[in-house]
């Protein structure tokens, strides 16, 4: 049970659990608009867009990119089921640029439609991450 004033927040992706702890507030990009969840928020569930979620705890601020998923606010706190998640504070922007460059090249070099599709998806993901940064 979340303590008064603090929100229990957990972020899970299909492969692993990425974040779990007590925070002050989480700002989530919902499909119908961005919303902030504080503790004792009314039970609520929504689909989220790809974008950055902002975790606020005291003076701490953390941004994590999520590639779509669901947010579920209940008495137990906020749970985000993300399809894909990247921590933006530990992200290497140079590596991202390089990956983007490589992905664009891959897309150009892709021969069949399957390869093209794969490369396009990879590029879309990276571009979404960059947009979030």
């Amino acid at each position: 049970m979340a303590s008064q004033g603090k929100l229990h927040f957990s972020l899970v992706s299909p492969e692993r659990s990425l974040y779990s702890g007590e925070v002050d507030q989480v700002v989530v990009p919902g499909v119908d608009g961005q919303f902030g969840a504080l503790s004792l928020h009314a039970p609520f569930m929504t689909v989220i867009k790809s974008g950055a979620i902002l975790i606020l705890d005291g003076a701490d601020e953390r941004r994590i990119y999520v590639g779509g998923g669901f947010a579920d606010v209940s008495a137990q706190g906020l749970t985000i089921l993300a399809e894909d998640a990247v921590d933006l504070s530990s992200l290497d922007t140079k590596a991202l640029e390089r990956d983007l460059h490589n992905a664009r090249e891959d897309l150009r070099d892709a021969k069949d439609s399957y390869g093209k599709d794969l490369a396009q998806r990879k590029l879309d993901r990276l571009e979404a991450i960059q947009a979030a940064v």
């Binding site: 992706s13 299909p14 039970p43 609520f44 209940s74």
Partner: protein, 292 residues
């Protein structure tokens, strides 16, 4: 009769085989640990998704429910998804899964259903190709992929959803090996489509409030069901991977022990042979000496 030299070569060759199986056993043990961890860390997501699906499936019913939950309204064409490993040397692991698949297929056909097969993993296709080749509608292989993840399971679930929407089948079953323990894996059948709402899950405590949904229940369920399918497939693939390494570990342990027994037996035979040769030689010398 084999000569002493033959015995020596034979023993050396068995010894090197033993070294290989021993090494494979240790590699499998290390990989098993990693596979178990992967299966473990995929669990929170799967549980949350399952709980949410259970929650929503109760509220959304009737014609408004997404097709994945409702089914196609028919029960004629069954798709059997057989998930096996990519590689062998794992004892009866794949054979057990394939056996279960055959049983399922026979049972369905006895009921007059049309059966289609999708194989995931090379070994399953190899074993089913001969008897059920014409029923196969696809094959997915993860050769060369070191660690299975969401990308791979998404590949499977995407194909399933596409085929289902296209009306290629009415019901889909997944056959994989449930990881019970390192030495025991049980081939299991699980229904994938129409989605069976998980039971026995306690719905979240709302603290007296009522859930509000954005955009609405149907839309969320529509988006959530493929994810649920995905997490079920990922869970099955990961359990399969863990089971595979467990089975491989057992098989390699057996092989190492067998090689040890064989070496012992061969050494004994070789020593007997050597002693027999010495005795013959001595007898010959003594007989020769007496003759003089």
């Amino acid at each position: 009769m084999a000569s002493l030299k033959d015995f020596r070569t034979r023993i050396t060759s068995v010894k090197s085989t033993q070294k290989i199986t021993k090494a494979m056993q240790m590699v499998a043990a290390a990989k098993l640990k990693r596979a178990q961890e992967a299966a473990e860390s995929a669990r929170p997501y799967a549980m949350r998704v399952a709980a949410t699906v259970a929650n929503l499936a109760g509220t959304v019913q009737g014609d408004g429910a997404p097709k994945l939950l409702r089914g196609s309204g028919q029960d004629q064409v069954h798709l059997v998804v057989v998930a096996t490993s990519e590689r062998g040397l794992c004892g009866g692991f794949n054979t057990n899964i394939v056996k279960k698949a055959r049983e399922t297929i026979l049972a369905l056909e006895a009921q007059g259903k049309t059966v289609k097969i999708l194989t995931v993993g090379k070994k399953g296709r190899d074993q089913l190709k001969r008897s059920y080749g014409e029923r196969m509608i696809g094959h997915i292989e993860f050769a060369g992929i070191r660690s299975l993840g969401a990308t791979q399971s998404a590949q499977v679930s995407q194909l399933l959803v596409d085929r289902f929407q296209a009306g290629d089948f009415d019901v889909a079953h997944l056959i994989y090996s449930k990881f019970k323990s390192v030495i025991s894996q049980i081939a299991t059948t699980q229904q994938l489509i129409p989605v069976v709402a998980p039971e026995g899950l306690v719905s979240a405590d709302l603290g007296g409030g009522i859930y509000s949904y954005e955009p609405d229940e149907e839309a969320i369920l529509e988006a959530l069901l493929p994810r649920y399918l995905d997490s079920q497939i990922l869970g099955a693939l990961l359990e399969n991977a863990a089971g595979f390494y467990g089975a491989q570990m057992g098989a390699m342990d057996n092989a190492t022990r067998n090689a040890g027994d064989l070496i012992k037996k061969l050494t004994l035979q070789m020593n007997r042979k050597r002693q027999a040769m010495i005795t013959t030689e001595l007898t010959e010398i003594i007989a020769g000496a007496q003759a003089v």
